[in-house]
Symmetry: C2
Subunit: 199 residues, 2 copies
């Protein structure tokens, strides 16, 4: 009895220590805090994690994370069709949404092309993007990829593939060279979206 009781808490600490940004020491601090705030925090957090574990999935259309086959943004009829904003990652989509300027649809690639890591177009959602552009009457594709070498390589590849059938733009002013979308403030993202320029 006494061994298993300790190891339940130790097991929780070991799992917490695997989260990004947490180590063994901060995991212990978090678990003690949770045990002290059982009603306010521990029980609701356990329930929220169970809910998300049971229901989270990738949107079949755009790759966003949600709890249905089609995500909240793809299913929202108030959003504008005909504009697709292409991002590397769900965290970038969230950053765009926090800026609150873009009212169209998204497409999450799930990474960038990388010769070093052997990531090709089929490993990302690039074929699905080309398919969407052909079938969804898209007028504009906004390439909101990070301004890293891999991000820009991917942007050039996508622009090549899409050809002249659609206007292709990229985020403009305000995106610092070498920076990553997820780390920008909302104002900068909004300004860059407004000043977007032909790719």
């Amino acid at each position: 009895m006494s061994q298993s009781s300790t190891s339940q808490i130790e097991h929780l600490i070991a799992l917490m220590a695997k989260l990004p940004g947490l180590g063994p020491r901060s995991a212990r601090r978090v678990v003690l805090h949770l045990i002290r705030k059982r009603a306010q925090l521990l029980t609701p957090l356990a329930a929220a994690l169970t809910d998300v574990a049971n229901s989270a999935r990738e949107c079949l259309n755009c790759g966003n994370v949600g709890t249905d086959d089609i995500c909240a943004i793809c299913g929202d009829e108030r959003r504008k069709n005909g504009e697709i904003c292409v991002v590397e990652d769900v965290s970038d989509l969230w950053a765009m949404e926090r800026a609150g300027q873009f009212k169209g649809r998204y497409h999450v690639l799930g990474g960038t092309l990388s010769a070093l890591d052997a990531v090709g177009p089929e490993d990302l959602r690039i074929p699905r993007l080309i398919d969407r552009v052909a079938t969804e009457e898209v007028q504009e594709v906004i390439l909101a990829l990070n301004t890293t070498i891999d991000g820009q390589t991917t942007a050039h590849y996508i622009a090549d593939q899409l050809g002249d059938n659609v206007t292709i733009t990229s985020l403009a002013q305000g995106v610092p060279i070498g920076g990553e979308l997820d780390y920008l403030d909302d104002g900068t993202i909004g300004a860059a979206l407004k000043a977007r320029k032909p790719f």
Copy 2:
């Protein structure tokens, strides 16, 4: 449907952001990481949190955290009776246990005396400590309190209350002035325990 699916994940992010050391940005990062590692991390973490939420409680004897009325250390017959190590907090008990030198029993005060915050002896587990010393045939009480003003005030108060019936020692060499137990390395804690001196 689409609104509730987003808000499940947003609800989880909001709860995660309340954990010590995490903010909104790191909470989003953690939740995305969890969704990507559903089988390895998200589901086990949800289960571990539920287990601990259902079973964690304070030991009725010493105040340690466990999943039974009597904690693993109080219930362990291989540990030495007659020596009680008094600590402020469960995190300090864990730090002592990591040092691995002490094989006796613990008593967790749950804080320190503080005139400013109006914390008196009855708000801590000091009456219970005096009771334990009287009934458990205790030969030595080791005061392993933080070397802060409040910690040392509390140590002096406890020593006064226990009187001459029992040997009272405190951690010695190696504990830096102004330092906190939870932040010390295991070697320092072990050295300080070995070199303990009469209080």
